[in-house]
């Protein structure tokens, strides 16, 4: 599904990713851990197409070169990024935004746009699954949402857009233990043999609830170690310093 080879990314002449290799197959869930400043969020941004990076190397998604693809086309092709810090968008109603966004993805896929009734039904189902109070969906997008509500809203967007590849950038940070379980369940119930995930986290805690197939350690712009879920536990005990 995703094939990254010798990916290098820099911003303002500062090199951040320095030759990253990663292959993710359909159905797999990969976790990336790493110290602050190792390039985790940059990887998420580069995958979703954020502007401002100088990029070289290979980055293929479903056989297609991602590098030249604009942000929205990546989203339309099935890449989703749950933001570490979801933005507050004043004046934009959350439900309207969700509908516009879903329909633009459906339109790009050549599917029929969803009418208001079917859309609301879908939102109701997905939001109750995540324990989201529907009232917040008639509010402005993320404005005045608590930290937990913002993160849950990201997962709700993921469930609604139904992407084939989701990147979760520190979705667990700022969540209490109950919210963490709900979010983890949200991810687990989305897992199929066709869908892949890249979970970026600082803590092993999230991986108690979401079982990764692979755990990678990212340090100074490169993956320096790959293992199975036990690697996360080892990291928790020893810290990043001891891994090399």
């Amino acid at each position: 599904m995703l094939e990254i080879k010798n990916l290098q990314a820099s911003i303002n002449n500062k090199s951040i990713l320095k030759g990253l290799n990663l292959t993710i197959n359909p159905g797999e869930l990969h976790a990336i851990m790493g110290p602050n400043g190792s390039g985790k969020s940059t990887l998420a941004n580069v995958l979703s197409g954020k502007n401002g990076y100088e990029i070289s190397g290979k980055m293929n998604f479903m056989g297609e070169n991602l590098i030249k693809l604009p942000i929205e086309e990546r989203a339309q092709k099935g890449i989703f990024l749950a933001f570490q810090y979801p933005l507050e968008i004043p004046g934009v109603n959350t439900n309207n935004f969700l509908k516009t966004s879903l329909n633009s993805v459906r339109k790009a896929k050549g599917e029929k746009e969803l009418d208001s009734i079917s859309f609301l039904k879908l939102v109701k189902e997905k939001s109750s699954e995540l324990g989201i109070d529907e009232k917040i969906l008639s509010r402005q997008l993320n404005v005045g949402f608590s930290g937990g509500e913002k993160k849950k809203n990201e997962i709700l967007q993921m469930k609604i857009l139904d992407p084939s590849f989701s990147i979760l950038d520190e979705t667990d940070s700022g969540l209490d233990i109950d919210a963490l379980k709900i979010v983890a369940n949200g991810v687990n119930s989305s897992r199929t043999s066709k869908k892949s995930f890249l979970v970026i986290t600082h803590y092993q805690r999230l991986l108690d609830y979401i079982k990764p197939d692979f755990v990678h350690v990212l340090s100074d712009g490169k993956i320096i170690k790959t293992g199975c879920s036990e690697l996360a536990q080892e990291l928790e005990k020893k810290g990043y310093q001891k891994i090399s």
């Binding site: 502007n51 929205e72 989203a75 990024l81 933005l87 004043p90 004046g91 516009t100 966004s101």
Partner: protein, 416 residues
């Protein structure tokens, strides 16, 4: 070239039914206008809108002759039930108050002058000299309008290089209520000037709401001086959505004359190529315990120019004044320009006055967030523009009128 803009005092002779005293006043005003000409940027109030220069570069000649006010067809809005007044080229044409008790409402053509002072604003002098055939509307005390009153402000096909001067008066009796939408329809493809002086007088406990909207883009140059006088516990609110005009200057003077008055001025504008729009306010807190609130939002595209000059004056006796003003501009283009000049003049010591002004571009991070959900850059920008203007639209309480305004805004932004 300027010679062509000379106006002859014979124009005043043509105005019917005026007293000799009134005629003298008109002649005096005309002399002042002739001496000063159109206002230019040397006048502080016209610092950002050099009207003289704008007129000279857009008109070769100006026609002060009266225009006909024939109306072939009345195209009424179907979006919501309403009463209406038709103005044709600024002149009062007809009215319909089918939803109201007609004996509670007075409406007639207005030729009267409102005050007898000679203004510092040359355009007001010109209006004082030449205005005729505006409307006079009076609502009796204790009468509350059941439906909105739409003032169709229609400019006909044949007006070209005309300068139209009108005076309007709206008077609300004690405890009365009126909600007005001024809806401008432009059929002329030519340039013209509409120079209006409007006086709104609100008696004790009266409530007046006004909303400005255009049907279409226009090559008209609009100047309106709005003098509102508020008496005990009355409230005035104005929502300005008049985008699409080549030039528009709305000069609002609001006198809070007695206790507990309230004045709200809000605006949400999307300005496009060749559009120049100024909102100038002068809120005068002349009595204690009054509130004023201003919220001006402008989105500026292409080479458009937006201006906000907002003044709050608090007289020494006006304790417990609560005054607020905020202007925000979103610039979509390097050629767009926004000028903001807040002025506070406070002589009382127990008051709350706050002001703020910001201008900036579309936030790239917000765009990234929306685009990462599959929206194109254009659609994301439009969503952010709508979001930016939305808090003003939220002030409209009637759902049908709100929907109507939202659709209009949607159409304005659609072209972006």
């Amino acid at each position: 070239m300027i010679q062509n803009f000379q106006v002859n005092s014979k124009q005043i002779d043509k105005i019917k039914e005026i007293t000799s005293e009134e005629k003298d006043f008109r002649i005096k005003n005309l002399e002042v206008f002739k001496a000063s000409g159109f206002p230019n940027k040397k006048l502080e109030d016209w610092k950002f809108s050099d009207f003289k220069q704008i007129i000279e570069s857009n008109f070769k000649e100006l026609d002060f002759e009266k225009v006909s006010s024939k109306l072939n067809k009345k195209d009424l809005l179907k979006d919501f039930e309403h009463n209406y007044i038709f103005l044709v080229n600024g002149n009062f044409h007809s009215s319909n108050f089918s939803f109201e008790e007609k004996n509670k409402i007075k409406i007639k053509s207005c030729n009267k002058n409102i005050d007898n002072k000679v203004s510092k604003n040359p355009l007001i002098c010109l209006n004082n000299a030449l205005a005729e055939n505006g409307y006079f509307l009076e609502v009796e005390k204790n009468y509350k309008f059941k439906k909105i009153l739409v003032i169709y402000n229609l400019f006909s096909k044949d007006i070209k290089n005309k300068i139209l001067n009108n005076k309007n008066i709206i008077k609300l009796g004690e405890n009365s209520e009126l909600h007005v939408m001024e809806y401008t329809i432009n059929e002329s493809k030519f340039k013209f000037i509409n120079n209006v002086y409007e006086n709104i007088i609100l008696a004790k406990n009266a409530k007046f709401k006004n909303l400005y909207m255009q049907n279409n883009k226009s090559d008209g140059f609009f100047h309106k001086f709005l003098k509102t006088e508020l008496f005990y516990n009355s409230s005035y609110s104005s929502l300005i959505f008049s985008s699409g005009l080549k030039f528009n200057k709305l000069d609002i003077e609001c006198d809070l004359i007695e206790d507990k008055c309230e004045c709200n001025i809000l605006s949400a504008l999307f300005l496009n190529k060749n559009e120049h729009q100024e909102i100038k306010t002068n809120i005068k807190h002349l009595a204690p315990n009054c509130k004023s609130y201003q919220r001006i939002k402008k989105v500026l595209n292409s080479d458009s120019k937006g201006i906000y000059q907002g003044k709050i004056y608090v007289k020494d006796i006006s304790q417990k004044t609560d005054a607020y003003q905020l202007s925000k501009a979103l610039l979509l283009n390097d050629d767009a320009e926004f000028n903001s000049k807040p002025e506070l003049e406070i002589y009382a010591d127990d008051v709350k006055c706050s002001h703020g002004s910001t201008s900036g571009n579309i936030d790239e991070d917000s765009l990234y967030y929306l685009m990462s959900r599959g929206l194109s850059r254009k659609d994301s920008t439009k969503l952010l523009i709508k979001g930016f203007l939305n808090d003003v639209v939220e002030y409209i309480k009637n759902p049908k009128i709100k929907k109507f305004i939202e659709n209009k805004l949607e159409r304005q932004i659609h072209g972006y």
